[in-house]
Each structure stands twice: as structure tokens, then as C-alpha cells.
């Protein structure tokens, strides 16, 4: 007669651990994609998981996003404080799906004369001199597996202010994720405004 009883938490932990261990073993034992077949433009006969690494899968599952490291300490607070508007730089946000982050050419139209002594501006000028564009890192965005097709333009046209989804950028120095774009966040607003909540509105 076995008196050993597992608590529920222990059962869950064992189950999760077993799965993780199993995946780890599979990952090491089976190569993700044979180089040969990939070279022939053909899918491999091997197991090709959706994520390349275990940690990648765990991160997606727990919605862990690394904090982006920006190459230049661009501060929204300063620029917006000087009277600029969101759309001055994020051109096209009312025309199409993307709110463009401008290229170094765009920044230099002002900064070839403005604040040229500041160290961050010197970094900017250095990029331009090297013929390189600034490698801005995404702050917002969805995992590819979420298959979200977000389109900025209809939201702008519907009068949704930028700050609703991105927070008050006038208070932000280096851009941070101030608003969590979970599906609930989107659905709540859609329901409030009477916009469609049909799956295929955003997922296709």
C-alpha cells in the first residue's frame, strides 16, 4: 500500500519537467535541419520544431521579451517636448500598416546642424558617415507565431490616439514597452468601440 502522495503542484512540476526534458533530448539527438537537403531547397526528413531552441519556446510560452538595447539613446521626451508630432517621424502610419521608424538620412536632415556637439548626436553622425543605418531594435511587435496582421491606418483613421497603445511618449526617454499588447487588450477596445472581433479580422 503506497502512502506516497504527490501534491498537485508537484504533479504539474513533474509533468512540465518531463516534457522539457523530452524536448531537450530530442533537440540534441535529432538535428533541426539537414544542411544537404536544405541546400537543395527541400524540406528535411528530420523533425523540425517550431522554435529553434527550448529557451525560444519557453520564452514564447511565458511571453518573455528581452529588453531591447538601443544603439543610440534617442529620447521621445526631448523631441516631443520641442513641439514635434508623432507623425513627423512615423510617416505613413495613417496610410498603411506600419509606423515607419525613419532612416538615418531623415534624422540627419535636422541633426546635421542641431545639437551636433552632443555625444548621442555624434554617434548618429558616425553612422551616417559610415554609410550605415541605425540598427533600432523593435520595442513593440508580435511573435510571428501569433500571426497578427495589425494595420495602423484604420486605427489612426478611427481616431485612436497613439498614446492609447503606446503610452504617453512625452514621458519616455528611451522607448520602453509601457503597454502590454495582449489579445485581451485589443479585444477590450474593439468591443468597446464596436469594431469587429471576428478572428479573421486580425489573424490570417
Amino acid at each position: 500500500m503506497c502512502r506516497f502522495r504527490l501534491s498537485n503542484y508537484l504533479r504539474i512540476a513533474i509533468a512540465v519537467g518531463a516534457v522539457v526534458l523530452g524536448l531537450a533530448i530530442l533537440q540534441r539527438v535529432l538535428p533541426a535541419q539537414s544542411a544537404d537537403t536544405a541546400a537543395q531547397g527541400q524540406s528535411s526528413d528530420q523533425f523540425t520544431p517550431s522554435h529553434r531552441t527550448i529557451s525560444g519556446a519557453i520564452r514564447e510560452f511565458f511571453y518573455i521579451r528581452s529588453k531591447p538595447v538601443q544603439p543610440i539613446a534617442y529620447t521621445h521626451k526631448v523631441h516631443l517636448g520641442n513641439g514635434m508630432q508623432c507623425t513627423d517621424c512615423h510617416v505613413g502610419v495613417d496610410q498603411g500598416p506600419d509606423a515607419r521608424i525613419p532612416s538615418v538620412n531623415f534624422c540627419m536632415t535636422c541633426h546635421q546642424v542641431i545639437a551636433t556637439d552632443k555625444p548621442e548626436i555624434k554617434k548618429l553622425a558616425a553612422y551616417k558617415a559610415r554609410g550605415e543605418d541605425i540598427p533600432w531594435q523593435r520595442v513593440y511587435g508580435f511573435e510571428p507565431e501569433a500571426h497578427v496582421k495589425f494595420n495602423h491606418a484604420p486605427h489612426i483613421r478611427a481616431g485612436v490616439d497613439c498614446s492609447v497603445c503606446h503610452g504617453d511618449m512625452r514621458q519616455q526617454t528611451v522607448a520602453e514597452r509601457k503597454v502590454d499588447h495582449t489579445m485581451g487588450f485589443c479585444i477590450d477596445c474593439h468591443k468597446q468601440k464596436g469594431a469587429s472581433v471576428d478572428c479573421v479580422t486580425c489573424h490570417y
Binding site: 524540406s43 500571426h147 484604420p154
Partner: protein, 235 residues
Amino acid sequence: MAHQWGMVIDLDRCTGCEACVVACHAENNISTVGEDQARRSRAKHWIRVERYYEGEFPDVQVKFMPVLCQQCDAAPCEPVCPTFASYHTSEGLNGQIYNRCIGTRYCANACPYVVRYFNFFNPVWDKPLNLQLNPDVSVREVGVMEKCTFCVQRIKAGEIKAEAEKRELKDGEIQPACVQSCAPRAMVFGDLNDPESEVSRLANSGRATKLLAELGTRPKVTYLQRDAWHGHENA
């Protein structure tokens, strides 16, 4: 009234050229599976041209029929999906929501038209073929089912454009990739809820049939049967 998207394919016009097949691949980021996987019947032709031989030489006839997802109003693939990844949208499409799909493949099993394709592996595009990918369409990862969507990205884009311009959609304004490329104009797409639309008009033709209608799937694709010549040698 909400749109109900439908299609008409005139088999008297279709010449089997397969422009629709390739246009679909180009528009919808369908990966090439390669020889080995194609041998295992895993090529993903969301639209295919079926051909049927009848008779014996020299009295042979060949018939072409493009087959794609019929967006059935009573789709057998919808009730079998355990996660509602396959569901019916408000505009009459059979939606396939990739992030809901957990790859049970019951839907493909249930589909009598064999128009659902499973991603057994992550797709491969030998660089730089990946640069051709359409940013408006998802790239489906391994374990996910895919099929013709009536180019829902084009439908969405058309609806958003019409709304931005504060007007109604015009008939024929939205064309899926296959319809747009069809040179003999065998394929017509439009709103079945609009009695004036070309698709509604043609769906009422005397030659109209539906594929496997007897199964009760209520497909939204109407086929117009191939016609015959009604002339005479002494007309």
C-alpha cells in the same frame, strides 16, 4: 448587409493553363516542398487543376477543373476542429486561424474536396527566394494547417480602402490572385449577397453546378459546366 464572398468558375472558359496555381503560390507564401516531400503527396497547391480523360483514342476528351477550398457554408472541417481554428467568418469564409491550430489534422480528414494542406516541416526558402514573400500574408510554421483563404488579405485590404475612401466596394474590385491572373476570365469572384454582382448573376446560370453538392457541404464555389457547340454544318 454583410458581404458573402463566393466564386464562379466557368469550365467552358478554363483552359487548364495553371496560371491560378502559380499566382496563388506567389501571393500566399506557399513554400515549395521539394521532390522528396512531393513524392509523399505533401505539395501544397491550394488551388489545383484536375484533369479527366474520357474515352479511348481517337475519341478522347480531356476536361479541366480547378479545385480550391469551397468555403462551404456547412463545412465538414469546422465541427471537427477541437480548437476552433477552422471556423466560419461573418463574411462566409472558412477561416483558418494558424495560431489556434494545433495540428490534429481532423479538418483535412473531413474535407471531401481534399483542399487542406498540412505543414509537416518548417517551410524552406533558399535565400534570397524569401525576399519574394508577401508581407500581407502569414508564413505558416510547422504543425499548422493551411488552405485557400479566397485571398482574405486582399479582401481585408479592399474593405479597409473602401472604408478609408468612405464608399462602398465596387463589384470586381477585390480579386483573389487566381481570379486576377485567369486569362480566359474563367474565374469570377464577388459578393453573393449583392444580386447585381457578376458572381450572383453567373451563379444563377443554367449551367451552374456545385462540386459534391450531394454531400450537403453547401459550397460557395459554383461551377458552370462545359458547354457544347450548338451549330450545324448547314447553319
